[in-house]
Point group: C2
Chain length 225, copies 2
DNA sequence: ATATAGATATGATATTTGTCATGTTTTGGT
DNA sequence: ACCAAAACATGACAAATATCATATCTATAT
């Protein structure tokens, strides 16, 4: 089992504020877990007994709406923490987490987190900052959902995936989402998402190869009205 | 100038975790401010040098979208803190705050907040909890925006106003929003909001008197598809 | 008390988006 | 390599929502 203080991933989340000793405490009680693409890490309504630190891979956070459709609220990158929100307010989890690729995560038990929260004010300030950042993002998503067209939202979703996860050597987006997933990010019907992507293809804004998507004309996507 | 430790409003926000001494510190440096209905407390992009504690009145938090329309992201009640998010991440403010009624607010300077954040872990844990709660709400709003119809969202907006702000002796909602404001909460055109409200009236779900709205059939509103 | 700007209301119509049907392509398991 | 089972694609149509035009109401300042 690798030690947390040697883990690069830690740089990207609030755990970076912990001291060497505190990290040793976490190393001692964390458990590593491999999750296959498509598997569920936790489900809406479950109670969590700790947080997950994403060491590798990508997952989606979704919520089931009353109409029976899943909405993707956020995509989670390598280095992010999962479940911190519900842990802090001591509630069942509000969103489900489903792996979009094979993942490796570390589970850190609740008590260990709260211990550090009490004793290390830098850690809690950092968590606070992370949460504040997430809240800002969420507010911005609300505005986009409410005010922008499906076409605009889908263009932004593509750009978001590009900037968050990058592209491979051939220029295709590193994270592969199904059309249904794109629809679920944008909040539209799968057929509508497919249609818009087809239109983007016709307009040479993107190229596709199977499920893979390449952005050809970033500026064109930005101009979408 | 009233002392903070005698202020009832404090019970409703994170300031409740502060000690008597810490509250005295705040009393010493806070400034009271009266804001008239329609006035702006702060505007998107401004940098804040403290937080506002809402002692009385109601305001809306809005963000201007690229299409030129304002989106109401949140309504703020008596007892809420304003500007805590931007203060913590040290960014310019992401949303504008505009009074929907005459208001009384207390301004607490940044340094005072950070002092308490450093020294009182209960206070920072409490802020963290508040932020976590706001984030959950925001995520839920995203799902509603993406998955529900204008009719459903407007019905929910009415119920939200009722539960957050209550009703007067005649049963009318205590907070009076214009049709344009309702449209801006729901993320639709003003005419659409008006039409849906008219339909609710025809279906006897609500009654209106000028700008005032009374909910007649809460169950009926819940059933809207 | 009255004028008037702003808010509310409603019709007609255009546009966007959803739904259902159906065919084609891709993917993953043997 | 082959065969389901998904996923993708597209047409036809329906429903929801936006836009534009215009009329009526209402709150507020003089």
């Amino acid at each position: 089992m690798r030690k947390c203080d040697q883990c690069i991933v830690r740089q990207f989340n609030s755990l970076k504020s912990l001291s060497k000793e505190e990290l040793l405490g976490i190393s001692g009680c964390k458990t590593s877990k491999f999750i296959k693409k498509g598997e569920t890490i936790f489900e809406e309504g479950e109670s969590l007994h700790g947080v997950y630190c994403v060491k590798d891979g990508v997952c989606k956070l979704t919520k089931l709406s009353a109409n029976g459709k899943d909405q993707i609220v956020k995509l989670v990158v390598k280095g992010d923490l999962l479940g911190q929100r519900s842990l802090i307010v001591n509630e069942t989890v509000n969103l489900s987490a489903v792996a979009l690729s094979n993942m490796e995560v570390c589970f850190i038990p609740k008590d260990e987190i709260f211990l550090n929260l009490k004793n290390n004010s830098n850690f809690s300030l950092d968590l606070l900052k992370q949460m504040a950042h997430d809240l800002k993002q969420a507010d911005n998503v609300i505005v986009n959902m409410a005010q922008k067209s499906v076409k605009q939202r889908l263009a932004e979703a593509l750009m978001y995936v590009q900037s968050s996860f990058g592209e491979d050597k051939d220029g295709f987006l590193n994270v592969i989402l199904s059309r249904e997933d794109y629809a679920s990010v944008v909040g539209t019907a799968t057929e509508s998402a497919i249609r818009v992507l087809s239109q983007f293809k016709k307009e040479k804004l993107i190229t596709t190869s199977g499920k893979k998507i390449k952005i050809n004309d970033l500026e064109g996507l930005k101009r979408i009205e």
